[in-house]
């Protein structure tokens, strides 16, 4: 699969708008500035996914994209273990960073993921004039690659490459970082490309 430069730019921009809205909601919840890296679109062979997602323990909140397309793919909020604890601590005003992950952390990640993903989808869907809604979240706190591959197994049944939109978000002192990853099904990707080409076409 190959994307030309213009289309890659357009997809990047789409990811940018979605991630910026998600970052704004995160910033509002934490009442702190959130830095956002420039989003990247990668076309990755399934055999090379381990080069992007390692086996460190992370929280992955996974949302299926529903709406106009019943099975659009997945949005994933990926937060490393240590950042999860910082995140919950900041929301609850506690400071203990040496503790284990608790149910409170699980709820916090699920809830933050929910709000961020809703903002991401609202913003991108509005731009494109379609409806995209997140499913209820599924949460795993485990090796990031192990949870990620369960999602890939849904996307890459007929194809050997997946398109990964990745945006990194960062909060300073104490540092919290995570990624929002969009994994579109081939059907949604085609639709995104069609709509973006429509937007880019001279009228």
């Amino acid at each position: 699969m190959e994307l030309d430069e213009q289309l890659t730019d357009a997809l990047n921009e789409l990811g940018n708008i979605g991630a910026a809205h998600a970052a704004t909601t995160l910033s509002q919840m934490l009442m702190r500035p959130v830095e956002m890296a420039v989003p990247e679109v990668h076309i990755v062979d399934i055999a090379d996914i381990y080069q992007y997602i390692g086996d460190d323990v992370s929280a992955l909140a996974v949302f299926q994209i529903q709406g106009d397309l019943p099975d659009g793919g997945f949005l994933i909020v990926n937060i490393p273990r240590s950042a999860v604890i910082q995140l919950t601590n900041q929301m609850l005003g506690s400071t203990d960073t040496e503790r284990e992950i608790t149910e409170m952390d699980q709820s916090a990640v699920t809830e933050i993921g929910n709000i961020m993903v809703s903002a991401f989808l609202d913003a991108t869907a509005e731009l494109l004039g379609i409806i995209m809604l997140p499913s209820p979240p599924a949460l795993a706190i485990d090796m990031a690659h192990a949870a990620f591959e369960a999602v890939v197994a849904q996307i890459a049944i007929d194809v050997n490459e997946v398109v990964i939109f990745n945006t990194e978000l960062k909060v300073d002192a104490p540092s919290i970082h995570g990624n929002i990853i969009l994994l579109p099904q081939p059907g949604l990707l085609k639709e995104l490309i069609r709509l973006l080409e429509g937007l880019m076409a001279p009228s």
Partner: protein, 163 residues
């Protein structure tokens, strides 16, 4: 995204849907719903490792390591092609976890992968020598054919065991 890999030696990393045959150490990281399938020739200290993603190929043949049926077929053929006898091949399987607690059916392909592999191994008359499957935990594995097929599993909770 951060990249970190569990390897101590210069093991060859087998990604999702890949497989490899040889005498050198092979590793695969973060096995969740997928299954790390190891076929080891006890006589020749050689073997194969696949990172199987789905139970059935439904006729797709371009990526044999991706599906249980095509992976076993390809690994056995390649091992036999290099001189292994079927009677000396034993299997070890790791993975097939159910990674998401409350998700609807579709994310929990792990169990189906393990069932498919068990049945296929039986059909191929290959004995399962050891396994660590199921549960709700990711695992990384390293397989060393030259050390009597020693298989080390590192679980997501940090514990390590040898199979």
């Amino acid at each position: 995204m951060e990249k970190r890999i569990f390897i101590e030696d210069n093991a060859v990393i087998i990604g999702i849907g890949d497989y490899c045959v040889g005498t050198f150490p092979m590793a695969t990281i973060g096995v969740g719903s997928c299954v790390a399938l190891i076929l080891h020739d006890r006589l020749r200290s050689t073997g194969a490792l696949a990172h199987v993603m789905l139970p059935e190929s439904c006729g797709v043949t371009d990526r044999p390591g991706k599906f249980a049926d095509t992976a076993i077929e390809a690994m056995v053929a390649e091992l036999e092609g290099t001189g292994s006898a079927r009677s000396h091949i034993v299997a070890k399987i790791v993975g097939g976890a159910c990674m998401f607690a409350y998700s609807t059916n579709t994310l929990n392909i792990g169990r189906k992968n393990v069932d498919a592999i068990r049945n296929l191994l039986k059909e191929h008359c290959i004995r399962i020598e050891a396994e660590e499957t199921g549960g709700r935990i990711g695992r990384s594995v390293i397989y060393r054919p030259a050390e009597s097929g020693r298989l080390t599993i590192k679980r997501a909770d940090g514990t390590c065991i040898d199979l």
